[in-house]
Symmetry: C2
Subunit: 385 residues, 2 copies
């Protein structure tokens, strides 16, 4: 186990995955809270909401109507952050001119999707069985596969995965017009995490650039591999945590759920593939179901912890859409969950002044958080109400 002295003293921990430090102050939870309270989540949603732009059959903002879909439904975001076609822009060639050093810009193109998890307006991943989450993972896999570059190191796996997975007309998307570099799948759940519609859904933003976070992780993972005889950072980490146990929340044969040593958010977890999976298309049928199980376990435990619809942002990191052999080899499939609640359904951790200006700071240790999440694995609290 970790050294017990760390439960009582302020210390910094290192995140080897992105190369930065954070401050841990375990004694700080004793502080009384007089600040903002989150609104408790209203649990009174209808199964179908005629005003929701994600419910089957409804009209969307820019006029299109949704199909009567059965599982998932994917469409291009009506207010995308990036677009496939836009006016050309090529920055001036880099000179030693001060403006070219200090006012640097790059054009970004891409495509942003919204993907619903279910036709039911009032459900969440925590309410769905692993079997019901499976179509979501299958759709992610097909969408990822359809965006891979033709010379991608995972092309064979992509072809196989697409053959294995039954096509779902509502989850199909057109291939991109221009090859893109990265696909970020993420979910914002709950008003506290900026979600503006409770209908269960995620977003998928694909861009011509490799974004900062997966970019940093890729560099760190490649460096570790090179410095340690080809061993993988997350592969070594999985083995270590399985052995140490104290940060493990749950596991099955294929995935480990752990509050990482370097967690910033109070109940942050990371879901890590146990074997070297580079991207969604590497997963077998059985592994996709096991991944669905892991997502079910995380989201149900979150809701059980404070008996509320637990807000979070989650996101998947995997091999880029367009990548070198080395980048694909360095990639190790994982999913982050960043939930803001700290002490109850209404008291969150604010990552503000010190965190933004100096360094992220957390109040309870990841070991304490993991112990609490291990303890709330029972049936979803709403079921027994």
């Amino acid at each position: 186990p970790h050294e017990k002295v760390l439960d009582d003293i302020s210390h910094r921990r290192y995140n080897p995955l992105n190369g930065s430090w954070l401050l841990v102050s375990p004694h700080r939870t004793k502080r009384p809270w007089q600040g903002q309270q989150e609104a408790p989540s209203k649990n009174q949603l209808p199964e179908y909401d005629p005003k929701c732009y994600l419910c089957p059959g409804n009209q969307r903002a820019q006029g299109d109507a949704n199909p009567q879909y059965q599982n998932t439904f994917a469409f291009v975001n009506d207010y995308s952050a990036v677009k496939e076609e836009q006016q050309d822009y090529s920055p001036d060639p880099k000179t030693e001119d001060v403006a070219s050093l200090l006012l640097q810009a790059q054009p970004v193109t891409g495509r942003c999707y919204v993907l619903t998890f279910s036709p039911k307006h009032d459900t969440t991943l925590a309410d769905m069985r692993a079997q019901e989450i499976l179509p979501v993972i299958e759709t992610w896999t097909r969408i990822y596969a359809s965006h891979l570059s033709s010379s991608h190191p995972l092309k064979t796996e992509a072809v196989r995965a697409v053959q294995d997975i039954p096509a779902n007309a509502d989850g199909e998307v057109d291939p991109p017009k221009h090859q893109l570099r990265y696909m970020q799948i993420f979910e914002n759940k709950g008003a506290a995490m900026g979600c503006s519609n409770p209908h269960p859904h995620c977003q998928i933003w694909t861009t011509s650039t490799l974004p900062e976070e997966p970019g940093k992780e890729l560099i760190q993972m490649a460096k570790y591999k090179q410095e340690h005889d080809g061993r993988h950072l997350l592969g070594d980490y999985v083995k270590l945590e399985v052995e140490k146990k104290e940060r493990v929340v749950w596991q099955n044969d294929s995935f480990l759920v752990v509050c990482p040593w370097w967690a910033i958010w109070p109940f942050e977890v990371i879901v890590i593939a146990k074997r070297h999976v580079r991207a969604l298309v590497d997963l077998t049928d059985d592994e996709r179901l096991q991944f669905a199980e892991a997502i079910q376990e995380v989201t149900r435990r979150y809701d059980n912890l404070f008996e509320t619809n637990f807000p979070y942002s989650s996101g998947i990191h995997q091999a880029p859409l367009d990548c070198t052999e080395d980048e694909a080899k360095a990639s190790w499939f994982h999913m982050h969950f960043y939930p803001p609640l700290l002490r109850s359904a209404t008291v969150r951790k604010f990552l503000v002044g010190y965190e933004l200006m100096a360094e992220p700071q957390r109040d309870i240790t990841p070991e304490q958080a993991a112990a609490k999440l291990r303890d709330c694995g029972g049936e979803l609290y709403r079921k027994s109400l």
Copy 2:
């Protein structure tokens, strides 16, 4: 001016100060907002609140009573994130063992202060005149000076500054027991930024470690200086922005207020010293007043923009408390303001899923934000109500 094409296309901008990129999607503000609304700030505070732990004369959580202070009042936070004395912890010497690579920790000691800006419970920096903000800057300067290491390159300046500034018993603090490395001065204003008490105050966290953000900036500034014949990154940046004008919000002889090229938050600004000021103790009497003026201009314009008590987190970056000659030389005094509001007093920008998992994303351009802030420099809206 910047290339106008950037007003209409998605692009990334580079932040040379911390070495990272962000995504700019200017067209995205057209999106309707159906998500969480911030509670409008209640403007009905009493000048003295008997229940406030920061008002003069009142009792604090752990029993101490506040003096009847006139301007500022500094005390050690009753719930500090770091402490001066704690159990010893020395991580095992670094081996090639997987645990020593992936589970790294460092002890952190230090002292956290709370500093009130005024005895009046119902005031804010935006309501105060520059002359009234001056004692805050003087107290910051004295506290910074009293924490400098004995061999610090700015020791002479610190001695001079302390002689120049009238002592204010309520703003005095004891010198630290052990030499510390960095002092982070920051303010969280408003419930949206995790502030739990509206009484105007900031916090000062001093630590034995150099935190991530000022650490990254110091490296970037030192690198720029070395690569560009001893010129300073922020010195060059100030000159460039004064010339370009389009991102300038306000300036006086000593300080420039600008929405930086690389701003993440919708109305983010940075206040930069025009000459090479390394830390608070470098400021002359007149410059301290000019700095107070700059803070007044930023906070009043913020409140005027949406006619509300504008929430933000702000923080000062300057030379470390314990530092080499080179680090002091590379440091360039500046203050960041990170405000979350985007479109009105109740609609904020959420930096969530994509921002946390992939890359920060903003909706309006810094040039558009600067134009709006330039336009609301009149009297504080509350005065004319």
